[in-house]
Symmetry: C2
Subunit: 755 residues, 2 copies
């Protein structure tokens, strides 16, 4: 294999103008991922569907989920069409933007939505099949649920690499520039803009899905569990179908779009940074651009290998289940360490060993954050047990403890990211802090390393809600305790892997956010070149261009030159005030999404109470409750409430650019990144810990189910629901979306800044 690899990669030394042959590994891996996804999907479809009632329930959930997605895509489609028209106007009317941007934007959104759609489709077909398989054996249940999760993982990485390689090929073919190095800068920054489409789609999916699922969950729990005292997933609860639909649209489709965005963002930002960091040598430049794509590609192949390592013997314990999942991820991770070494060695990227160090740092940081997340949110460790203890004195002390512990838990992940970033920077910078461009490239490639095993980590992540839904299906269909016990076992594993997944999502968001901040400057370069000969540009831009003229022209200016010309220092009030606004944006965004969940949950509670009150026979199980009405409440609420937060994310960087210029935008992005990152960890960890504190009590500790402590813990869990599944994960996207908007609108900002 090494021989073949050497042969392919050696071509990297060919003149950059001809497409490098190593590039073809990217579409190859993409197609491979999609083929395997299709095979796993077909395999899952062949499994038995279970009893009639199981089919019926699954159908209910599937129909609800698709009805939601249809409605969601209608609204989002409208937003995308408006944005497309706006970008087209900027590109063709005002000529301040690359003409490929509107199309890149649309495809990013489309593929992101597609990834969510396929993932969800698979999940909704898999739930009853996994439940029925679990009736056979735990092993069988695991295989069905995990392979279905793998469909999602592979679809996400497959579509992402497909989108990336098609655009790279197309732009490389069509974009003309006498200067090869500049051409590559234009290509990579244009490709970055399709990241914006992916981010916007992801934000809608996460926020909308998050509101849907948590409104249903909170509503179902508060009236069902707390007031009526019926168990989770009881078919008598009118909100129970909505709750299961929510798992699919929030945890599956939402997460798919989210990680599609992260994955694309990290690869594209790194490629863009590589294009400018090494623009003095086109051969090296091409290698720096290809490296993140190739690492992604090889990661996909090794993820498929890892997936085949996930299997358990019959009668496996929950520990064995966990180690089976862990084995798959570990195999992929170890292989990627070796493979990326070989790739970089044969590709001979500049400072290839340093770059490899950055990749390893990224991988290790991701794993570490995952472990820390597990420590702070699993009931096996003292922080969550401490929170559970506080339930003995009532809901207020549970909430205070959960919030306090969540806030404290931000210490380690932030420290990990700081150390990881510093190391990946310094490795790729060759030990010299002053090599800013190379160092930033290292941060980007660390993010790529962290996400390189996404194919399998996402599989372990998406597997969770599928197992959860299987449990719901088994419960509603009355499959009996043993099946439920098995699906619970599968589900609880899902919680652990979800914690790890969140670690990767948050960690990669921070690294990618940093890389995007740097890419913003590169996009400014292109924006300035574009407007330079436009006679209508304002005074601000004219004087900016004059300053660059003195430095030898825009294209020759370094990152530091850009910083100086735009005064992006911490003493510039525009930067500081931008930071205030950025920090506030994170909180405002969380507040809006929290309140949205609150309002929707309130409607749900009232509806469930109304049905219990008005429809006789529900509680006796004689009459079916009106499930559809609950689904419809969640759907409408999600559509209504997701617009404003998303609009804010788009508008804030644009307005800031108009008012305070580049300095203000950089401050905004930096402030949002620094505070949003920490806020996201806090919310995810508090929410996770409350959830597991409740489970700890339900396991029979501190009085067990039905005790006062349990009631208090359920309230904590309910508060935590929007924390961990709506606001927290959406923040990761918000950070990146704002950067993406700033990048896409860079031409606009440099043309129309007021002050």
């Amino acid at each position: 294999m090494n021989m073949a690899l050497t042969h392919i990669l050696a071509q990297a030394d060919a003149p950059a103008a001809s497409m490098n042959i190593a590039f073809w590994l990217v579409p190859f891996a993409s197609i491979l991922a999609l083929v395997f996804a299709y095979l796993f999907y077909k395999g899952m479809k062949k499994e038995e569907e279970g009893t009639d009632i199981m089919r019926k329930i699954a159908l209910h959930v599937r129909m609800g989920a698709f009805a939601y997605l249809k409605q969601q895509y209608k609204v989002v489609g409208l937003v995308f069409i408006i944005m497309f028209a706006f970008f087209a106007f900027l590109a063709y009317g005002l000529r301040i933007q690359n003409e490929w941007v509107p199309f890149a934007f649309i495809t990013g959104g489309f593929f992101s939505g597609l990834a969510g759609f396929f993932g969800m489709k698979t999940a909704t077909y898999a739930s009853n099949r996994a439940a029925w398989a679990a009736k056979n054996s735990l092993d069988h249940g695991l295989r069905v649920a995990f392979r279905s999760g793998a469909v999602m993982g592979l679809v996400v990485v497959g579509l992402a690499l497909l989108d990336i390689s098609v655009w790279f090929f197309v732009l490389n073919h069509f974009i003309e520039d006498a200067n090869e190095a500049h051409k590559m800068i234009i290509i990579t920054t244009t490709m970055l803009t399709f990241g914006m489409g992916a981010s916007l789609q992801a934000l809608f999916a996460r926020v909308g899905g998050g509101i849907f699922t948590k409104a249903a969950d909170v509503g179902a729990d508060l009236v069902g569990k707390v007031e009526a005292g019926i168990p989770e997933d009881d078919p008598r609860n009118p909100a129970t179908i909505a709750d299961n639909v929510g798992d699919n649209v929030g945890d599956v489709a939402g997460m798919g779009a989210d990680l599609y965005e992260s994955y694309c963002g990290s690869i594209l930002a790194t490629a863009a940074l590589g294009a400018t960091a090494y623009m003095t040598n086109t051969g090296v430049q091409m290698k720096a651009i290809l490296a993140p794509m190739l690492i992604g590609a090889i990661g996909v192949i090794l993820s498929i290998v890892g997936i085949y390592f996930v299997r358990v013997k019959k009668g496996a314990s929950s520990k064995e289940l966990l180690s089976a999942l862990g084995r798959g991820v570990n195999v992929s991770s170890v292989l990627i360490c070796v493979a990326s070494f070989l790739i970089l060695y044969f590709l001979q990227t500049p400072n290839w060993l340093g770059n490899w160090g950055s990749i390893i740092v990224g991988l290790v940081t991701g794993v570490f954050i995952g472990k820390i997340t597990e420590y702070f949110t699993s009931e096996a460790y003292s922080p969550t047990r401490h929170i559970a203890e506080q339930a003995k004195t009532g809901p207020a002390t549970v909430i205070i403890a959960g919030m306090g512990t969540g806030m404290i838990s931000t210490f380690y992940p932030v420290l990990a990211i700081v150390v990881g970033t510093a190391l990946s920077y310094i490795f790729s910078a060759g030990g010299d802090f002053a090599n800013i461009s190379q160092g930033l490239y290292g941060i980007g490639i660390a993010a790529v390393g962290m996400l390189s095993t996404l194919g399998i980590t996402l599989a372990t992540d998406a597997y969770g809600p599928i197992a959860d839904n299987a449990g719901g299906n088994a419960e509603m269909a009355g499959l009996g305790k043993e099946v439920r016990r098995r699906t619970d076992m599968l589900d609880s594993l899902g919680n652990t892997t979800a914690a790890t997944g969140k670690g990767f999502a948050i960690g990669s968001a921070a690294l990618t956010g940093l890389a995007l901040l740097a890419s913003y400057i590169e996009e400014l370069r292109i924006g300035l070149i574009r407007v330079a000969d436009n006679p209508k540009i304002g005074e601000y831009t004219k004087s900016t261009l004059e300053q660059f003229e003195k430095l030898g022209g825009v294209t020759e200016a370094s990152l530091m030159d850009f910083m100086n010309v735009y005064g992006v220092t911490l003493m510039n009030p525009k930067v500081l005030l931008g930071m205030f606004i950025g920090s506030m944006m994170s909180f405002l965004f969380c507040g809006l999404t929290m309140n949205a969940v609150g309002r929707a949950a309130n409607q749900m509670v009232n509806e469930v109470r109304r049905q219990f009150r008005e429809t006789a026979g529900i509680m006796e199980g004689k009459v079916d409750p009106d499930y559809a009405r609950c689904v419809s409440i969640s759907t409408k609420a999600a559509q209504r409430e997701m617009i404003l937060p998303a609009l804010l994310a788009i508008i804030a960087p644009v307005v800031m650019g108009l008012v305070f210029g580049v300095a203000g935008v950089m401050g905004l992005l930096g402030g949002a990144l620094a505070s949003g990152f920490v806020l996201a960890i806090f919310m995810a960890n508090s929410g996770g810990a409350w959830d597991n504190a409740k489970k700890y009590i339900e396991q029979g500790n501190l009085g067990g189910k039905g005790s006062e402590a349990h009631k208090a813990a359920v309230i904590g869990d309910t508060v935590g629901d929007p924390f961990k599944d709506t606001s927290g994960p959406s923040l990761n996207i918000l950070i990146k979306l704002m950067s993406m908007v700033a990048i896409v609108m860079a031409g606009f900002t440099v043309s129309y800044t007021l002050f």
Copy 2:
């Protein structure tokens, strides 16, 4: 009067070497404030003390409060002695710090503690007297409570101006420097370091007091109100004395130290910025240094005038009461607008009209933030009513709504601060964003303007807990419903004025934080001069000095030169990672203090439950509960728990300086400021809104007292307690303390940075 003023201020044109005669207005105002404080104190002491039982209760509370303060000052004293020794070592041993620093540090802490002590002493003598006066008439009650609050307001500003003027006089006399402009820079930056003493003392007071009061409050409420169903301040509740003690040590002593710190910080930072912004002309420089002190001085005099406007007729309604308080503040505010115009006009500070504009902007911003705070936290408006509505569906939805609304509420104050800062900057910069030094001076002077009426705003603020304690005293002494109604009326006004006070505290913290960030650079200048001829300095510092050499020397370098040499741009990873750590510090600090309250409250709940269970006759009112034990639990918890958060605030900037140098420290301070500021608003507003949502229900809405909605609202209020009275207000101090530490340790940082 204008004639006399002209005469005095004209002297400002005399050579700066001789002390400017206008300076003497500062000690004069300081003495005046202390004299009036003494008179109000004596007047209050002459009031009747009420019945024997009232005396006894007041004595209990007073003894508890002093016992706490004694213990607190012991611990804090020890920390101060250690820090003193450390600073003395830096100054006399390593010679990398000004030799006045250890002493300035100590006096700052001492005076801050003294302000808290006097305020608390007054408050604990005033409670039973105010209750007894309220028995006479509402007017009488208001007068006693408000004048006692005024003691605190005047003591704080009086001691602050005394400390400032004595040090300015002493340093001016003793510090020798051939270059008059440099001498002034040394003096003002040295004075800044006594701000660190004040900040550290304030942090201990706020955190310790906050933990004490909320542990007692939460404990008293959860067992007393919720479980046993007895009213607030019922003498059968063992935690009730501790609760009343808490109001004094947290809300009075804590707030006194807090605002002492804010007040000093704003004046000292502005003076330091003035010294460097105008160092090319010593005459102008002296004026720029004196201006903030003089505005403070005139503000004190006008606050005393305003205090005499607070009075109501007999039989006044609660609306009339509020307008009486408002009248006092408004009179002072309007007068300060006029007076500061005259001062700046006659002083002829550089760009005096612009500076005046900055002061007005500061005042208006403070008032605006206060109004917004009131809107988001008063039960008269929809946000709080919406939260109360959510109580109908239980505690979880109340908490979600309170958090969501609190997060959303950050939008307006942040926008106000951004607009206010931008305007005050641009006014003082003479319309040109590039005049950074002058603009930053404008931000400082806006903070001084915002706090200029502190004498009276703090009086209206400190009045609240006094009225609250008077109500407690009346309740425990069984003075009857009418008296309780009156004290409740007085108390509820206190809540409104407290909201305004919080607006000023938060707003001034943001502005002062920005000014301190700028002052840090000035302190670096001094630090570099000091270490320049030290042969032992490391490579980092040597190369830094060389770079300044090329720019014409450290003293001639501009703020922007410093930014460039230290690479404090948003693309420097040291800055970005510093921002991550700074943002995390805010959350970590909140988490530690939240958990401290949770742990202490838990102990308190168990103790109260134990007493109810083990001591027969408490509930029948036959046996006195063991109040002292509850006081002791809160005291011990507060002492134990306050150390770690305070240490973190001291250690973080030092370690960051060692590892990532100036760039890292600036990132740390910027990140902490941007996220801490927003976090503080969120916590204060969520807490305030929960408190008033509960009161709204207690007024008979949504089912009134005892309903399920009420129980849910009490839980919300309990969660909000540490938000609004422990973590939130402490954050304002944390932001400034970290800046102060960075400033004091600047010499250390430039000497020993590793990378």
